[in-house]
């Protein structure tokens, strides 16, 4: 009796020990990620913060490091990301919904699923080469913002699809059955229940995908992104009829990572500071984009009442 008691105590103590150990390990793992991020930010900030100014944000590149700026780069990045998001999110979500809710469960669907999962692991330069052949030479879209946006959209499409499916799968089956029981069609069920409930998860996937796209350099250089460009794309808003213009889609462009890469590889120390400052701005842009998505996610989650 006594011995039983003490062996039970022993076991409990051991289990508690493992529990605490795992919690510590988890905390450590989290900190490694956080510390790396902070070290990176501090490193960039100590080098680059001094260069951050209105002038830096509103000037074109220059041979004089102190006169150079990133206007064409951040405008380029913003517009390319806009095209990417507007293409990849509807396509990715639609494909995810189809695969999860509509597609029959057979070998063909299984094959498609495996392929999509594999596509997420294809190196980005391969997408660049494909886009060069398809968008630039076949469809004659030129070395343009449109081509770049579509290329990055293809690159992140698998991530959006997979995230969408995961999010949809998390919606309980009883919700679907309840909707059917009330006479809803499949589309009504998807539109009014599945999609609203899974928006939070989908947005998380979109954040990860866009954060990957914003830092890409290789595929964009392949499709002909520029390094020196001292003018902005055509304005999307016009004073005369029809007031909106899509000329900017066909404009040549550069993006932040390319500008950074160019400055980092220059011999002059001052250009390296510019590169660090560009890195800071890029990080702020990524955080802003993510903040928007997190806000949207919060709004959607608040509306859900089961």
């Amino acid at each position: 009796m006594e011995r039983n008691q003490s062996s039970r105590d022993n076991k409990t103590a051991r289990r508690k020990f493992y529990d605490r150990t795992f919690a510590m390990l988890g905390l450590l793992a989290t900190f490694i990620g956080l510390i790396t991020l902070f070290a990176l930010m501090i490193d960039l900030a100590t080098d680059g913060a001094g260069r951050l100014s209105r002038q830096f944000l509103l000037s074109f590149p220059s041979r004089f490091p102190e006169q150079a700026g990133i206007l064409s780069a951040w405008v380029g990045t913003t517009l390319v990301m806009l095209v990417t998001a507007l293409t990849a999110v509807p396509l990715g979500v639609a494909a995810g919904v189809y695969l999860e809710e509509y597609a029959p469960k057979n070998w063909l669907t299984a094959l498609i699923e495996i392929n999509i999962a594999n596509l997420a692991g294809v190196p980005s330069i391969v997408y660049g080469l494909m886009a060069l052949g398809l968008f630039v030479y076949q469809l004659r879209l030129g070395h343009s913002i449109l081509t770049a946006g579509l290329t990055l959209a293809l690159l992140i499409l698998p991530i959006v699809i997979v995230a969408t499916r995961e999010a949809i799968r998390a919606v309980p089956g009883i919700m679907r059955e309840a909707a059917y029981a009330l006479g809803a069609t499949k589309w009504q069920m998807v539109k009014d229940h599945v999609l609203p409930y899974s928006t939070g998860g989908i947005l998380t996937g979109v954040i990860i995908a866009l954060s990957r796209a914003i830092g890409e350099t290789a595929p964009l250089i392949t499709i002909g992104a520029l390094t020196f460009i001292a003018f902005l794309p055509d304005s999307p808003v016009k004073p005369e009829f029809p007031f909106i213009s899509f000329d900017w889609l066909m404009s040549p462009f550069t993006v932040m990572p390319i500008q950074m890469f160019n400055w980092v590889s220059r011999p002059q120390e001052e250009f390296h500071l510019n590169a660090a400052a560009t890195g800071l701005v890029l990080m702020v842009m990524t955080l802003a984009m993510n903040a928007l998505a997190i806000y949207l996610r919060y709004r959607f989650r608040k509306r859900i009442r089961w």
Binding site: P61, R63, L146, I221, F228, F231, D247, R266, P267, E269
Partner: protein, 333 residues
């Protein structure tokens, strides 16, 4: 009802999109340039000044696809001007000929390679091409690993090598000039496409030896020691003067722009090239590259204006030619 309205809207947007896409291309005057990242800073400087001078009426874009990548686009007729850190090669000439793209070849600046050691290295101040070949040729791989294997008078210390990666034009030129065959090099050295990494590597290792572009040495003179090239008669250190007067051999070479003849018929391209040749000397010095002698720019401009097309290299990289000699040669196609 609601659905048809949406369809009409989508249709209208679609057509507006297509209409604006097709109309967009030819409107603005754009000079399109792509090619070598070594030439990029020169062309960037000229483009910057040119756009200022034209008050933004002409737009100039510059990419960095590399010399080879640049020629691919150039010979397809996609760019007006191609930056090149080496002369056009046979297969590129062939590609241009097939697309009937004719071109002017204009040298715009010098690019010099510098051989570097650590400042604490007190045994080396100059080397011969034969010394360098002994170190860098493919046969040296795994065998020449200490300094005294190169010259017996040097210490028995490990030889730590640094150099650019195999994709760079600097690598091509160094191997061509030292080993005698482009891309023939030993493989067991620390390679980086970023010359700044090489600077750090050599600055932190007493036994290091490496090579890279002259501009990177100029910016890091305190951290590095340049090795003079011993040509037998005298030792020539790398400097703007020795590069310009052609005595720093074989590690300096001209870099070029290639201008499409057809594009040069457009007034904005013609004007840009003329501006390039007229202002290059000043701008090249500002970005700390080595400028050609003044008459090289006047001659280049003359060739351009008189319509002297083609290359004077016949599709092969050549080492150790003086710039005056180059400009006197007859072009081939």
């Amino acid at each position: 009802m609601e659905e048809t309205e949406m369809n009409t809207k989508a249709l209208v947007t679609f057509f507006a999109l297509m209409a604006s896409l097709t109309g967009a291309q030819a409107r603005a005057q754009i000079v399109q340039i792509d090619g070598s990242s070594t030439v990029f800073p020169v062309t960037e400087a000229v483009a910057e000044e040119f756009q200022k001078a034209k008050k933004g009426k002409v737009k100039v874009t510059v990419g960095i696809s590399g010399t080879g990548g640049g020629f691919k686009k150039f010979c397809r007729g996609e760019t007006d001007i191609s930056d090149a850190s080496r002369p056009i090669l046979k297969q590129e000439m062939e590609a241009c000929k097939q697309a009937s793209v004719q071109y002017y070849e204009l040298p715009v600046a010098f690019d010099a390679l510098t051989v570097m050691v650590n400042p604490k290295n007190d045994w080396v101040s100059s080397m011969t091409v034969a010394d360098l070949k002994k170190i860098w040729e493919p046969a040296a791989q795994g065998k020449v690993t200490t300094w005294n294997q190169v010259r017996a008078s040097w210490p028995n210390a490990p030889l730590k090598l640094f150099g650019p990666g195999a994709d760079s034009g600097t690598f091509d030129y160094f191997t061509e000039a030292i080993v005698g065959k482009a891309k023939a090099s030993r493989g067991d050295f620390t390679a980086s496409e970023d010359d700044n990494v090489l600077v750090q590597g050599i600055a932190n290792d007493k036994n290091a030896l490496g090579y890279f572009g002259f501009a990177y040495y100029v910016e890091n003179q305190k951290k590095l020691k340049a090795v003079g090239i011993d040509g037998g008669k005298e030792v020539v250190p790398p400097s703007p003067k020795t590069v310009e007067d052609g005595t720093y051999q074989p590690l300096s070479r001209p870099i070029f722009i290639y201008v499409s003849k057809k594009a040069a018929e457009k007034p904005e391209v013609k004007e840009f090239v003329e501006f390039y040749m007229q202002n290059a000397a000043k701008l090249v010095r500002q970005i700390k590259y080595v400028a050609l002698p003044a008459n090289a720019y006047t001659l280049g401009l003359e060739h351009f204006q008189k319509g002297k097309i083609g290359t004077v290299f016949g599709g092969e990289a050549q080492v150790g030619i003086k710039i005056e000699e180059l400009l006197k040669r007859e072009a081939k196609f």
